[in-house]
Symmetry: C2
Subunit: 400 residues, 2 copies
Amino acid sequence: MAVVVQKYGGSSVADPVRIKNVARRIARKVRGGFKVVSVVSAMGKTTDQLISLAKSVSENPDERELDMVLVTGEQVSCALVAMALRDLGINAISLNAFQAKILTTGNHTNARIVDINSKRLKEYLRSYDVVVITGFQGINEDENFTTLGRGGSDTSAVALAATLKSDCEIYSDVAGVYTCDPKLYPKTRKWKYITYDDMLELAAMGAKVLHSRSVEIAKKYNVKIYCGSSFSDEEGTWVVDKLPEWLEEPVVTGISLDEGQVKASIMNLPNDATVISDIFKRVAEKGINVDMISLVKNGEATHVSFTVVSDKIAGIKELLDETLSTYGGNYHFYGRFSKITIVGTGMRSNYGVASKFLELLASEGVEPELITTSEIKISALVPEEKAHALVEKICEEFQL
Amino acid sequence: MAVVVQKYGGSSVADPVRIKNVARRIARKVRGGFKVVSVVSAMGKTTDQLISLAKSVSENPDERELDMVLVTGEQVSCALVAMALRDLGINAISLNAFQAKILTTGNHTNARIVDINSKRLKEYLRSYDVVVITGFQGINEDENFTTLGRGGSDTSAVALAATLKSDCEIYSDVAGVYTCDPKLYPKTRKWKYITYDDMLELAAMGAKVLHSRSVEIAKKYNVKIYCGSSFSDEEGTWVVDKLPEWLEEPVVTGISLDEGQVKASIMNLPNDATVISDIFKRVAEKGINVDMISLVKNGEATHVSFTVVSDKIAGIKELLDETLSTYGGNYHFYGRFSKITIVGTGMRSNYGVASKFLELLASEGVEPELITTSEIKISALVPEEKAHALVEKICEEFQL
């Protein structure tokens, strides 16, 4: 039997009208000859509401009990989708993690799927045309509910597809994977195909189409993912291992912009590796994320710069005042800046990208404050007021 | 180990403040040396809200899927109670019907408990001081969720107490079982003890303290039930097999008043049993409840009277016009009346109750329109305007 996994996100099932819409889309797939495993998220903002309910009872809710509360969100939406399907004459059943036997590690609120009982799942698929399964959740070996962390429904869907050796269709309110946020560059293009590696970089950069963990699993088990809109039939994006051969590999697949960045520079630190590691350890302990770390040694002294979002300045200041009183050195904040990042696995075999990127900045009269690179990614820190015009130039230059 | 089952109804856990209050009450019991199995209903009006959500997706929701939606209400409230208990330093865990292995018959929305895995329950009680269990729900042998129908949490609690051979404390917003509605007779008394049989009659008469099915199970397995308030420490009522020997058995244990009654009389029907049964079958098919049926044969004709609530007159009229055109006979409605019922297992051994009751009506100048009796119950239909004064007289006479 032809099986496909279809995942619908929270905004796709936010109210009864949208639930019925999702049911119609699933029904269409069934009438097209497929058995469908449908993974459904909690309705709209339900998970957030359940978290605040728990926090109004306990400031720091027990995680095992919090998971027990959270998993009800998906159970409700799945049962509602199954009801709507039955009204359309489709033989559907909803299953929670207990019933579907989705086994995870023991850690609550951030578990990982370790096993899905595929024999049982296939039995259900013999009896039903659609099996609607709660995303985001599992049970551990003590029969406690667990949750997979934010975006976990994507992971559930891809794991089910891996188990069933089927494709995985992920539907949300975005019709696919774009080269950049349409708000930044209205002429943004949607990819027809994108590789797992590029998708992983884009997900890490905050593209909300797919959760990183789900892409990792897809890559590992070679599950083809299709990202589309649950509200239209517009063509979406396939996330695959390799682009089709007829397709010329794009050098740059995406661009992102992070605004509100401040550059912190610490000068004249002693040339002692433990000093730097101690400073960044303390920053991490404060729960502050720093980025674009760049380090220069200059004779007897070490200078280090990094970026941080502007509302964390106070926290960093406090920490540096304390640390530098021991180690010596002085610091200064500069800002505000924006971080522009371009991504593309094609960069691996195309050495000219970095220079083309920097040339472009220079031709616009922008001297980047900081630059960091990885194999498939370049980021530059530029003055905030020049960032939007630059993004547009880059999109044109790299045909994004 | 000393174990007790405590059940808290929906209004007792309607919001976070009340949930914390319930947790404090359970904690007190634990500190008094008990292991507690706590059965908790869904918060406030949650079940009603979930039903309307389901109905906004499907006019006539699939019952298996409806149960899947409904059971989430108790899962949330139980987990919240467990969280609040952990904040009080109590070692608590919440379990849904899957985890607690509460096995029911297969029929959805109205299932019956057939088995509770007591071995497993006792294991949990060895590891935890409090096990908070979802009321109102079970799983059937196909691992589908089932629900026990309205008031089912009482049944869950009593069934758990029967399994554990423990007492069962049922907490709600009413502090026990009263002789009559305090709105009818402000000097109403609360019983310290009441028998299962009296409680069953009172429950059937609409006393909302306990669900009939739970009393039946308590009677069968001889589970002592204590009914009290979750908001105060006021002494409640014990529901038991036999009253303590030192307690003089009351003849009348309760009184109720049903207002808005109309008497329908059908005269001159043929003396043919199938005619009467046909009429009442048609009434039932229309979903109309009739009560206090009384039948008199007079020579060649049969006369039958019954009561019905006044807003059903139109439905009955339509039906009688149709039926009597075949059978002959004529009908008339009289009203409005109130039905006064007194209940007491003590009546069994006390033959004077009926005559005392009728004497009392006569002394107030009231001639009852209809009278029906059972072994432990007498009802009289009296003019509506005289009912309230009569209730007061009866309460005084029978020391209610």
